[in-house]
């Protein structure tokens, strides 16, 4: 099962996914979607790491991916906790409601 992959293609794929994530974070109104989009970006980075690891034949890329995974989980847990609080207080998850502090 020998695959030949062009580094550029992998990197560009990851980059494209990353860019989609960015778009998602910016355009969405609901905080949950924003978190989802951030997950997409993290995943794209993970893809890049795995690709890099496989490029050099090292486990380090995957190690990093594992840590990314841990971090994503941690972040999502706190993020969702926050979302619960926000929903509790604002009865909405519209990020545009959260503009009280400015100037």
């Amino acid at each position: 099962m020998k695959t030949t992959v062009s580094t550029e293609v992998v990197v560009l794929l990851a980059g494209l996914l990353f860019a989609l994530g960015i778009v998602g974070v910016i355009i969405r109104k609901n905080i949950i979607f924003m978190l989802l989009s951030v997950e997409i970006m993290l995943n794209a980075s993970g893809l890049a790491f795995v690709a890099a690891g496989s490029r050099w034949g090292q486990p380090d890329g995957q190690v990093m991916f594992v840590f990314i995974l841990a971090m994503a989980a941690a972040e999502v847990s706190i993020g969702l906790a926050l979302i619960l609080q926000i929903y509790h207080q604002h009865k909405s998850l519209d990020i545009d409601n959260l503009k009280e502090m400015n100037g």
């Binding site: 794929l13 860019a19 893809l47 034949g57 994503a72 847990s77 969702l80």
Partner: protein
């Protein structure tokens, strides 16, 4: 097998595109799951089978479930979809998309100018990974534990429901609302 790679890549892209364009959170989550599965396929093709496994189990399994759980808990269905539908007009997404496209274009320019070769991904077995994790990156693993602990403590504190301490201005309103509620009930 390159074809598998491209197919998986395309699936991941399309699914991701769907994620960021769906109005209904549940739909989006499902598409994200598809995307994650495609990622797992990519990982596997890149020789990282263990990562592919983790992607499915933890990401698609655990984390996404967490999301769905919250979505269900808060009953975010139609209302959210309606809100997003109203919101997601070209006027709104055009700007950010262009921005992201510019960023990607720059990225493209930089990557293409670097002239990388194609390579055959080396398979890194779970064993190798485990050795690396528990030898070289042992402290890292411990730190990851601290990271998770921070998340747990934090989420526990933030997510904990206490009686809501309202600002004194809001308190009156709330009382009024409650009165109203009682009236309707009665």
């Amino acid at each position: 097998m390159e074809i598998a790679f491209y197919v998986a890549g395309t699936v991941a892209l399309v699914a991701t595109l769907m994620v960021i364009t769906r109005h209904n959170p549940v739909h989006a989550l499902l598409y994200l799951n598809v995307s994650l599965l495609a990622h797992a396929m990519l990982f596997y093709l890149l020789g990282a089978s263990f990562a592919a496994l983790l992607e499915i189990i933890i990401y698609a399994g655990a984390i996404m479930v967490l999301f769905i759980f919250v979505v269900m808990l808060l009953n975010l269905g139609k209302e959210t979809a309606e809100q997003e539908r109203k919101w997601l007009k070209p006027k709104v997404w055009m700007g950010p998309t262009v921005l992201a496209a510019v960023l990607f274009a720059e990225f493209l320019a930089l990557v293409l100018s670097s002239g990388q070769d194609a390579y055959s991904p080396a398979v890194v077995s779970p064993r190798e990974l485990a050795v690396a994790l528990y030898r070289e990156y042992l402290i890292g693993v411990e730190l990851a534990a601290m990271l998770l602990m921070a998340a747990v403590v934090g989420a526990a504190h933030i997510g904990r429901h206490k009686k809501l301490v309202l600002h004194r201005f809001l308190r009156e309103e709330k009382e009024k609302e409650e009165e109203k509620h009682e009236e309707t009930v009665l």
